[in-house]
Amino acid sequence: MAKYIGKRLLYMILSLWLIVTATFFFMRIAPGNPFTSEKQLPPEIEANLNAHYGLDKPWYAQYGDYLLKVAKWDFGPSFKYKSQSVNDLINEGFPVSFILGLEAILIAVAFGLILGIIAALKHNRWQDYTAMIIAVAGISVPSFIMATFLQYFLAIKLGVFPVARFETFMHTVLPALALASTPMAFIARLTRSSMLEVMSNDYIKTAKAKGLSQGVITVKHAIRNALLPVVTYMGPLTAGILTGSFVIEKIFGIPGLGSHFVTSITNRDYTVIMGVTVFYSIILLASILLVDIAYGIIDPRIKLAGGKKGE
């Protein structure tokens, strides 16, 4: 187990290093320098600015500085908003995104499981078809389109929910629903197929033969085992929620990290783009690692150290 985690950590660090390095060099070759917008700076001032941000050093020194700073969790200043550092932006925006993301994950998991279980229990009946049509629709409609539809019909036309902003719980319902729609559909499909597989196992037949009721069999025997593939989906789920938040926060005017990120892209605020990308990558890689470890703990059939799954 320790060996496995060590190996995975090594890969994670390699991937992260690749991301940090790539962001660093990408931003250097990106068109325009950070002060292009300041129109015609006197050379002395530009030299001072460069010195202030360490841009007068050779590239390898800058690269080394950047690596060290990232390792110390310091993403540097924002080039566009002089008084704000990237860390400030993350500290201010991430809690908002986190609440929204958590809500979306809860919705996705809860409704996805319910839909999937109903579909499997009523296999090939109308409940199954309805659930699967909902699932295919959820997968096909991109989250930002779901968001605009929800906003237009439920908020603007019917006025059931507030249109935008992030103040009360009611403000979070529509964005969380929009974020959850695609992952919910994936979870529903996963749960259904894994439930169907589990339900055909011998131990379910044994449970039936013992005279257990359908409810007990489903809850005690089937769902527990059917949940395993759903756990593996938690990694991609986090990724989906995270990237989904870029657009959802933009649509609903939520001051989270996602909307800061999109603004920084429009502004070509390179340090923010770099910092937030690295920050997101760390979260993603860490959550995928956590999910894999959790999976190994939940399912004793999987030997992590051997690297062979299932057999």
Binding site: F26, A137, T148, Y152, E197, S281
Partner: protein, 304 residues
């Protein structure tokens, strides 16, 4: 189980005729087609796809407008017999632009799938066939690259390379091929020790012939499914990027840019967002159900 009598038929009493196969033998692809045709949802997706592709080709010619000419006297018109899907804030016809957008979305999807196919088959094929150190190195490289979050990398590349159709396809395929490579490698690994490959080797076939004649054709089923499912994800990525302002440059129309332009006007001119939104969803839906149907038809063991 009830089996009715008329399912059985006397084929003849002579011994020579008893062994005759009475039904025409089906090739693999015919069999796949028959299974696919039975899947109603997949057939619906295929028809829908046909309609969408037809409209992408002919749609822009169905009106007298073109996608880039501004007509400021007619801006933000609601759908009418004059402008079927209304007009946008520069007076451009939304119907024409929607089908221009279809061309671009489908082109991006197809291009990304083909490039992924090319690199993935090459990389996965070599890695799986050579095995040993080559395999180890090639797959570790893929693993590290795979760890990089896809959409973040694409966003980063778009920021650096600048907006445009070519850079978008490049950004999508730079890590997009890994999935294909892994699938091809898995297939090649399981096929390369089969007897017919050994037979081909004994007959003197070289590596590239074995790959092209035996290994790749036998991996066609998962390759095809992966390709079909790459297209909707590429279409989604395009729309997503355009929606956060990293898409194509105006006046080019894509569904993502149209949706992005339409968003601020959602309250008053909802059609400007709804038409592209509906067609993005329909296209992704069609490709998804065709892909699912193809997977079930190609490998009925997987059907749930």
């Amino acid at each position: 189980m009830q089996i009715s009598k008329d399912k059985f038929q006397l084929v003849g009493t002579k011994i020579s005729e008893a062994e005759k196969i009475s039904k025409p033998s089906l090739s693999f692809w015919k069999d796949v087609f028959i299974r696919f045709r039975k899947n109603k949802l997949a057939m619906f997706g295929l028809v829908l796809l046909g309609v969408l592709i037809f409209m992408a080709i002919f749609g822009p010619y169905m009106t007298e407008y073109d996608y880039r000419t501004n007509d400021l006297t007619n801006k933000n018109q609601s759908p009418s017999s004059e402008h079927w899907f209304g007009t946008d804030d520069l007076g451009r016809d939304v119907f024409t632009r929607t089908w221009e957008g279809a061309r671009i979305s489908i082109f991006i999807g197809a291009a990304a799938a083909l490039i992924d196919l090319f690199i993935g088959v090459l990389w996965g094929g070599i890695s799986g066939y050579k095995g040993g150190r080559t395999d180890e190195f090639m797959m570790r490289f893929a693993d590290v690259l795979y760890g990089v979050p896809y959409l973040l990398l694409v966003i980063l590349l778009m920021v650096v390379l600048g907006q445009g159709l070519g850079t978008m396809i490049l950004a999508m395929t730079i890590t997009g091929w890994i999935n294909m490579a892994r699938i091809v490698r898995g297939q090649v690994l399981s096929l390369k020790n089969q007897e017919y490959v050994l037979a081909a080797k004994t007959l003197g076939a070289n590596t590239s012939r074995i790959m092209a004649k035996h290994l790749i054709p036998n991996s066609m089923a998962p390759i095809l499914v992966t390709m079909t499912l790459t297209i909707p994800s590429a279409i989604f990525t395009e729309a997503f990027l355009s929606f956060i302002g990293l898409g194509l440059t105006p006046p080019l129309a894509s569904w993502g840019t149209m949706a992005n332009d339409g968003l601020p006007a959602l309250r008053y001119y909802p059609w400007r967002l709804f038409f592209p939104a509906i067609f993005i969803s329909l296209t992704i839906f069609a490709f998804n159900v065709v892909g699912d149907g193809l997977r079930d038809a190609l490998d009925p063991r997987l059907r749930k």
